[in-house]
Every structure is written in structure tokens, then in C-alpha cells.
Symmetry: C2
């Protein structure tokens, strides 16, 4: 019972409907196939034809309909970025890095942030399906990783700041960076070094902690655990940790915060308590966020090139997208660099400090290891 409906009412178009490839073809006096060929520039077309098609497209202000294109070629030239509920510098730098790399390759980026729980994250991944050719998923919270694994099948995925077995991933060399920082402090003479931890389930935080612990094992210091304070990467938690460190006995001579934000909090807390940095206590962080050099004293920290993390993630994803078969899964680590500023110095003899603070203060000028910056 096939029916033959009468001429269908064409969908009403308000004023200037966008020109389609058919309009261009008509104006140039060629077929749509030729227009497509000219505009995509892959196949053979006579120079003259090409010119007239281009002229027609120009005059009609033709812009290809991407939905139709995606439907036809089964590609969207878009990648998705799924982020947890991260604020600040880190967040934006990652996007920046990916965006730059993606635009250079003609890709667009679809962003979805603020996912505190895994379920929500998976929902988003589902709604992105078909809309993107691949996914960069940032899930530093290790508990998310396994869940994420279940879905997102047959779609290239690159993990950021987390990793999984047989998964493409880009992470920061947190462990190596933490050890390098400890080496720096140790070289200055510190052995009682406190650590302010990051969120318990955060992969970056865990690795930094691991680096710290490994280094501490090599030193003579006892009661390792007693020198660790909990924290959650916020300035506020750093502030609280600073208070706890200040009353610890015997007091550490240096504090290593798992990120700069917490280090800033520690500095603020020490400033409020009248504890001089770096004379009485050295403080170091991790990340090298922009304000790090503008706090007082300027913060010694491990620099992480976050935009680079984004760039690499895109490169890896692109490889997985363009040739899924030839692609071999990789796990890359982005290196870190020590940036020495004014927030640490060699530990001063306790007696001298407690009785003659001014001499210790003067000692800073002569004894400080940081003339300029070294990275």
C-alpha cells in the first residue's frame, strides 16, 4: 500500500535561508558533486571550474552545513572534554592547551565541566556520543576511573591525570617531581619536612605523597606519619594545615604542600602566627601557579606545564581517532621543573632563632640560595 502524497509543502523559510551546496552548484552551472570536490579540494577539478565554483560560493556566502557533513562522513571534527568540578587555573590551562592544538588541526572542542560524581559524568559521556569523535576525560579521582571504563566503548578516549590498564593517558610526573623537590630541600639541610596532602582519592595527590614518603624513608627522621597533614588542594585547607604544623613538636623546618594553593594557605597561616618564612620555616609547593611568584616570600615550587598536558592529550587522541587500528595505547608523563624562589633557605639553629630573631632575619640576605630563579 504505497502512497503517493501530493506535493509536499516546503518547510517555511523565513527571509534569507542559508545557501546550500545546490544553490552554489546552480549558480556556478555545475553539479553538487563538483562543488563538493572543489570545496574539499581532494579530487581533480579543472582550474577554471574551480574558480567559478569558488566565486559562486563566495557570492552566496555559502557555509557548508556541518550537521549534514557529519552525517555523511560520519565524523564531527569535534572532540569532547569532560572535566570534574575543578576551578581555577588548572582547568582553564588544560582547555587552552587542547584548544590550541585542536584548532590547528581543524577540530572543535565540546566542553563539559563540573562533574562531581561519576554517574553524572557518564551521563554526559552518553549525550556526547555521536557529537564527538573522541574524548579527553579528566578524572583525577581514582575511584572514577574504573566506572568510566565500562562505557565510552568504541570511542577513542584519553585520560588526563589518571590512568588505567591499557588506556591512553597523559599524566604529570608527580612522583618524580615530588622526589626532586625533596632532594632540593634535603640538599639545603632539611630533614624534618612536613607534607600537606591533597584529596585522598586524587591521583596526582597520591603520587606526590608517594614521592614524599619515598624520600623521607631515605632520611633519618622518625615518626614519618606525624609529619603529614591532610588537605584538599584548597587555600583554606593549607591554612589549617599550617596551624597544625606550627604547633607540632618538634617543629619541622620545612613544609612541602602538595600544591601551590595549599602552600599559599600555609604561608598565610604562618604570617598570621608570626612565623617567619623562610628564616624559621621553609615552604614549598607544586604546580607553579601564576601567583606563586607574587606571594611573600615568592614561592619555591615545581613547575608543571599544564597547557602542554592538554596539547599532548589532543595529539594522542588525534592519533587514536585517525587510525584506530594502527594506534597503540600509550601512557605519557609530562615532566616538571624546579623553580627556586625565596620561600626556602637552609634550616637555622633552633637556639639562635628563638632568642635572636633579627640575626636570623639578616641571615636571609647572605645565606639565601636563591639569586634570581633557576629552573
Amino acid at each position: 500500500m504505497p502512497i503517493r502524497p501530493t506535493a509536499r509543502k516546503t518547510r517555511s523559510r523565513t527571509r534569507t535561508a542559508a545557501a546550500t551546496i545546490h544553490d552554489v552548484a546552480k549558480r556556478a552551472g555545475v553539479s553538487v558533486a563538483t562543488v563538493s570536490r572543489v570545496l574539499n579540494g581532494k579530487e581533480l577539478v579543472r582550474e577554471e571550474t574551480s574558480r567559478s565554483v569558488r566565486a559562486a560560493a563566495e557570492s552566496l556566502r555559502y557555509v557548508p552545513n556541518v550537521a549534514a557533513r557529519s552525517l555523511s562522513i560520519r565524523r564531527s571534527q569535534t572532540i569532547g572534554i569532560v572535566l570534574p568540578d575543578v576551578h581555577g587555573e588548572f582547568f582553564s590551562e588544560v582547555i587552552r592547551g587542547i584548544d590550541l592544538a585542536a584548532r590547528a588541526e581543524g577540530y572543535h572542542i565540546l566542553v563539559s565541566g563540573s562533574h562531581s560524581d561519576p554517574v553524572q559524568m557518564l551521563e554526559v559521556v552518553d549525550t556526547m556520543r555521536g557529537r564527538v569523535d573522541g574524548l579527553v576525560v579528566m578524572a583525577p579521582d581514582v575511584t572514577l576511573a574504573p566506572l568510566e571504563e565500562l562505557r565510552a566503548r568504541d570511542m577513542p578516549v584519553v585520560l588526563l591525570n589518571s590512568s588505567g590498564p591499557n588506556r591512553d593517558a597523559i599524566t604529570i610526573d608527580n612522583y618524580g617531581g615530588a622526589r626532586a623537590m625533596m632532594r632540593h630541600l634535603h640538599g639545603l639541610g632539611h630533614t624534618r619536612i612536613a607534607f600537606v596532602r591533597g584529596p585522598q582519592h586524587n591521583a596526582d595527590a597520591r603520587e606526590r605523597l608517594r614521592g614524599y614518603r619515598h624520600a623521607m624513608r631515605g632520611m633519618a627522621a622518625a615518626s614519618l606519619r606525624a609529619l603529614e597533614c591532610s588537605g584538599d588542594f584548597t587555600e583554606e585547607s593549607g591554612f589549617a594545615a599550617g596551624r597544625r604544623v606550627a604547633v607540632a613538636a618538634p617543629r619541622p623546618t620545612a613544609v612541602f604542600a602538595a600544591n601551590d594553593s595549599m602552600a599559599v594557605g600555609v604561608l598565610a597561616s604562618f604570617a598570621a602566627a608570626g612565623i617567619k618564612v623562610p628564616e624559621v620555616m621553609s615552604v614549598v609547593g607544586f604546580d607553579d601557579i601564576p601567583i606563586a611568584r607574587y606571594v611573600a616570600p615568592p614561592l619555591t615550587t615545581m613547575r608543571v606545564d599544564i597547557a602542554e598536558v592538554g596539547r599532548r592529550a589532543f595529539a594522542l587522541l588525534l592519533d587514536a581517532i585517525t587510525d584506530p587500528n594502527a594506534h597503540v595505547t600509550r601512557h605519557d608523563r609530562v615532566g616538571t621543573a624546579l623553580v627556586v624562589r625565596g620561600s626556602c633557605m637552609a634550616p637555622q639553629p633552633v637556639t639562635e632563632l628563638s632568642t635572636q630573631p633579627h640575626r636570623a632575619a639578616r641571615g636571609r640576605k647572605s645565606g639565601s640560595p636563591n639569586k634570581g630563579e633557576a629552573s
Copy 2:
């Protein structure tokens, strides 16, 4: 000459091809139209039919192809965000605000950042055409606005931190905020107030400057211009400005930086020069970025709810998208709130300060206006 090609070779599909609406229809024993109706839930469908369709979709793990859907309904359920080359907090908070609001309405966001020049920005707008239903364009640099106007035709656009005649826009109440801050300083007794300007072509910076100047005109202070320093919103430029203010004669009693980042730079410079804040010099900023409360001393500033700016921008855009005809263009301003912290106090008599710094320092405890925070 119509041709009748032989059966066309079906496009090779590797392994598990995604299920289409046809597969679902077949499995449920209904037509594709019914499946569409069930899944989009608008029209009448028998409960029983609905259930079986849903079951079929579920079992086939059917996910609609968005490209096909967009093509058919001529909507992408996606909005584009075009940002200049902004780093940091501001950038990410705007996206956060928009993302949250957009997701609640089932919209996705396509982001493109890092556009330093207008031409590049326009290119991006072009490539987004067809991919998005509307655009949020952040172009605080006033010189960009007119250029932007040329294109982006017949596509809803909401401007952020800039405005144009007859254009939808969301801006911050920079002028009002700056005046309120000046009122606060004046109330404390300051009359010689220096200002650190932002980028010359930045709309926010201009408005803040306008607010400052207007307030200064109301005071007795002479040589207005002499108290203005140039800056570009970076910590570095704030640092440089701090130096210049420090050697100005007669020295101002307060510094108002056009944003917090520069205020942090000013603080760092004063700390390096041994100028006590707030005893000798009060310092205030604008924005209330997260570290503002963690610098020493905690910074008095005007809070701006950036995520709110994003939310409002989306709401406005959505209105323009859903009913272009009924929509009336608006220009909304988001308010600011004074946050008083420890970085200012009443100006101290000059003689006393220069000869007896310690008394002035003590004066901080009793004379400081900031017990806790007020907003």
C-alpha cells in the same frame, strides 16, 4: 539520461555498527516514526507500544545520531563560546557558569579560546556556524566589538563584558563598583588615592577607571592624572605600578588597582620595598579572586560573581534562540559587592609615620576597620 546503477555496495561497517532508529523499529515491530515519537515523548503513543519501543532501544543500546537529528530539526542544541586570550580564574568561572546553566537545559557548549586578534575570532565564528544555535562572545577589548558586529548575522549572539548598540549583552557593574570602592576609601579618610589602570582598550578596565575618576573629581585632590598608573591586569604590571606609586610625591595614602591580580602585584612590590600595608598604604582591588583572602594582608576588594555572569548570558541567549521574534534585546549588569578585609585602614598622620613606625604599626590593631568580613 537517468541512470539506474546496480545495487550499491553498502559502506563497510567494522564489527558492531551502532544501532539506528530503524533497528529499534524493527525489533519493536513498529515504524520508525513511532520510535521517534516515543523517544521524543511529545506525541500520543499507546503505553504498551511505548514500553516495547523503550525496551528495544535499551537492548540495542540505541543512542540517536545527533548529526542526523540536527540536520532534520535544524538545531544543534549547542551554543558556542568565543573567548579572547584570557587565562585563569575568570575564564574558567565564566565557562562554569554557562556550562551549568546550559546543561540544565540540555544544551552543550562548544568552546574556543585564545583569540588575541579580531580576525582570528571571526574565523572561528564562521567555523562554528551551523554547529551552534547561538553564541556567547567575550570581547572585552572594545576595538573588537564593531568588527564582531559585521558577521555572525542571523545567529543569536550575547556579548560578555562589552556591549554594542542594540545588542544583547551582560556586563559587570564596573562603574558602580569602582564608585562604591572609592566611597569606602573616602569614608576611611583617604583623599590621595592612586589608581592602577587596566588595559587601555578593555571595556571593564575603562569603566572602572571612569568610576575612579568620577569619584576623584568630587574630592579636593589636585593633579588627578599624576595618580594614575598604567597596567595590563597582570601581577607583573601591578608590581611595576607599586614601585612608581612608592616614589610619587606627595605619596598617596591608598592604591586602588583595577583588578586583584594587579593589587597582588602592588602588595608584593610594597612588601619588597618595606612599605607596610595597611599602616602606611592601603591597597584595594577588584574581582575577589580566590587568593585575595590569602595574601598578606588579606585584600579588600569588590566581589564579582563571574559564574553568575555566565549563567545570565546563557539565559539571555536561550531566550533569543527559542523565540527570535518575541525576543527583545537587553543589556544586563551584574552587581558587585564590597568585601572588606585587612588591606586598608584610615590614613595615618605622615609625621608620626615617618619618625615612629612602631606606633603606627600598633595603631593597626586598634584602628583597623576590618573585624571579620563585611560584604
